[in-house]
Amino acid sequence: MLSRKSIWFMAMAVFASAVMAVACGGEKKEEGVTPGALKGDLEIFSWWTTGGEAAGLQAMYDLYPKTCSPDVKIINATVAGGAGFNARQVLTTRMLGGDPPGSFQVHMGHELTDTWVTTGYMEPLDALFAQENWTNIFPKGVLDIVSYEGKPYSVPVNIHRANVLWYNKKVFTDNNLKPPTTFAEFFTVADALKAKGITPLAPGDNGIWASTQVMETVLIGSLGPDAYKGLWTGKTDWKSAEVTKALETFQRMLTYVNSDHSSLSWDQANDLVIKGQAAMSIMGDWLHADNVAKKFENSGWMPSPGTAGVYDALSDTFGLPKKAPNPEAVKCWLKLVGSKAGQEAFNPKKGSICARTDCDASLFDTYLQSSMQDWKKDTIVPSLAHGAAASQGWVEEINDATTAFVTDRNVSAFQGRLSQACVNAKVCKTTATR
């Protein structure tokens, strides 16, 4: 006779194996699409979940039935998190697991190229670019960044600027101060504000990328655009005295920030500026959409210190993964993303400018119009924190080094780690010491 104990044990074993059988069975995806009439599902993967971003994305979805086909069901697969921090992890798992979405949002530049293109996970889009005449419509600088070995791999939908200094106009007029254009002016203004009990600079670096982004604007402002670009190709020495000077400037800037910066997200930090508790923030121009949403009228903007005439650019793009389900529907989505109608529907809501050069300026508000003009005449440099300048692995190591620096404030250790990161990324030669 079996004891009760073993009966229980067996019952558990049966249950466990039944669960296993169900869990491992899985379901097979339907494949194969009839060419011509577009049908089936189209899964678009992004991290646009809130406010203007989500509204802009929805505006493009609304155009899909007219432009492409009313019979395609769009699946809006979103994973929340600033700068795609969480979304990328989900995407990696899906891509490596052989279950790519139809199309996914990815930053233009090395984030796409080094992660997915060189490793052979993406389809080239040269035919689509030729067919839509995009080679003439997108600026040359953008085409260079989205291309690898001469072929484009993703369609840019927008352009954001990372090097913007945002300030509370009222705080500045009340204290008879002028917004700073150079680092020297910045520190003068910051001292004056600090004396009045106002936090000069309000970063919110609860996301790991936010400190890196402030650091990148300091590098541009201190080194100049060409030397900054050289950092990513190995031409500028990470151990040079110029980089030391830039990092010391960054170090000094960090003495003017709110003490709880690490507990705030960038938009929570912006609330401090809106309330007048803080005077300035250095953040990308998605902050403008936050100001509009919060009906903040006293917002002023200018290039971050030392970066007048430089456009630190990043862009969201969409591409076509190999083995994507329903590729014809995806191609029509990409056509829509690159079209004038698509970009004019998306960008005013998202608070970014068109990657195309022929968008109607009257659709955009004052800030975006000024940004469109700068985009045409400024020197364009790729953003580091947002994947345009360096590979994901390199950015991750720089994020680590910056995060440690924000607390330990040790410039020489920081510089050593940054130059080691360049070596690890196989861009700098292996002469660096550990």
Binding site: L2, S3, R4, K5, S6, I7, W8, F9, M10, A11, A13, V14, A16, S17, M20, A21, F85, R88, Q89, T92, T93, M95, L96, D114, T115, W116, T118, T119, G120, Y121, D205, N206, G207, I208, S259, D260, H261, S262, S263, Q392, G393, V395, E396, E397, D400, A401, T403, A404, F405, V406, T407, D408, A413, R417, R434
Partner: protein, 348 residues
């Protein structure tokens, strides 16, 4: 084991489980042993594949040079581990884990024991108190993390509460305080350590980050009730005669506690330490939801580093190496315990 024991004491002796008819018929054909083995095999196979198989695979990745999204199993020996122990973030993580484990386990044991001894006084409404203290354990660490992030936010929560209630704003940064308390290499104690060849201890990387205490508070809030229940069961198992005998011999309550209760509670303490210890070595969700590793890396932990370096930086080999180090550190704690308890079971 306990179910069987409890069932035997039930007077009606109703069978706990009646085998379905087909299984009973099967039971007549094959022997107990064959049936038992046959039923266990599927789950054993599943565990072998999904637990041990993947541990083996992680070990394989940890000695490879897989550094992009494209798998690359070229053997590089222990390079990844060597680099890991030169990585500043990983060294900080080890420090944080040690500090967190010591304070978290220590606080849980002390608070749990104190609560248990108070409840053991046969007070009124013991059940209610027991539930109140045990309930935090029912929430997930994610919820705990979010709640305590709000409670300890410097511009809100506890600071604001203190301001409104009178004592004035505490003006304390809680988990945003970047201070790391450490032995300065130039101090007398630092120099003394240096002369002993332990100079590396006098370094910011071996200090105690204050922000970590906020996380310790949250984790202790969640887990000390569990330790209380363990201790309460342990206290109830101590025969009253032993205490009475000690009292009759003239021992005061403190001596009864020190000489009778505490030694008899040693197995409970050990179990609690193992359970809390392995949890604290692997902690991830609480830190993610509460502090996001900040400020700087003051509250960073190896699990978070592993997650980010793997899925954010695509350094798969490094991520695998971190998980293997974590596995080994947990094993150091758990394996002797398993060995000890299995041996004890065999003796029984």
């Amino acid at each position: 084991m306990n179910e069987a024991g409890a069932a035997n004491s039930v007077k009606t002796r109703r069978p706990l489980l009646r085998l379905p008819r087909p299984l009973l018929r099967l039971h007549n054909i094959v022997s107990d042993r064959v049936l038992a083995v046959g039923l266990i095999v599927p789950s054993v196979v599943a565990v072998l594949v999904f637990v041990y198989g993947f541990i083996g695979w992680s070990a394989l990745v940890s000695v490879s040079q897989w550094d992009t999204v494209r798998p690359d199993y070229t053997f590089v020996g222990f390079d990844n581990f060597r680099n890991l122990f030169h990585n500043f973030r990983f060294l900080i993580d080890i420090r944080n884990t040690v500090v967190f484990t010591v304070f978290f386990v220590g606080a849980c044991l002390v608070i749990g024991f104190v609560l248990a001894s108070l409840l053991d006084r046969q007070i009124k409404g013991e059940g209610i108190f027991r539930s109140i203290y045990l309930f935090p354990m029912a929430v997930s660490f994610i919820v705990t993390g979010v709640a305590w992030r709000w409670l300890l936010a410097p511009r809100a929560g506890v600071n604001l509460l203190a301001e409104k209630l009178g004592p004035g704003n505490l003006d304390y940064g809680w988990y945003t305080d970047p201070t790391v308390v450490f032995i300065h290499p130039g101090s007398r104690f630092g120099e003394a350590l240096h002369s002993l060849g332990l100079g590396f201890l006098a370094d910011a990387n071996f200090g105690i980050p204050l922000a970590l205490f906020s996380v310790v508070i949250a984790a202790t809030w969640q887990m000390s009730g569990f330790v209380m229940v363990l201790y309460l069961a342990g206290l109830r198992a101590i025969p009253e005669e032993l205490k009475e005998a000690a009292r009759a011999d003239g021992a005061n309550e403190l001596q009864v506690l020190r000489r009778i209760s505490l030694p008899l509670l040693r197995p409970v303490t050990l179990s609690a330490m193992i359970i809390l210890g392995h949890q604290s070595l692997k902690i991830f969700d609480l830190v993610v939801s509460m502090t996001q590793r900040g400020p700087g890396f003051a509250t960073d932990v190896p699990a978070l580093f592993m997650f980010e370096t793997t899925f954010q930086g695509n350094h798969f080999a490094r991520g695998a190496a971190i998980s293997i180090v974590m596995l080994l550190s947990v094993s150091v704690l758990v394996i002797p315990y398993l060995y000890w308890s299995l041996r004890k079971e065999a003796r029984l």
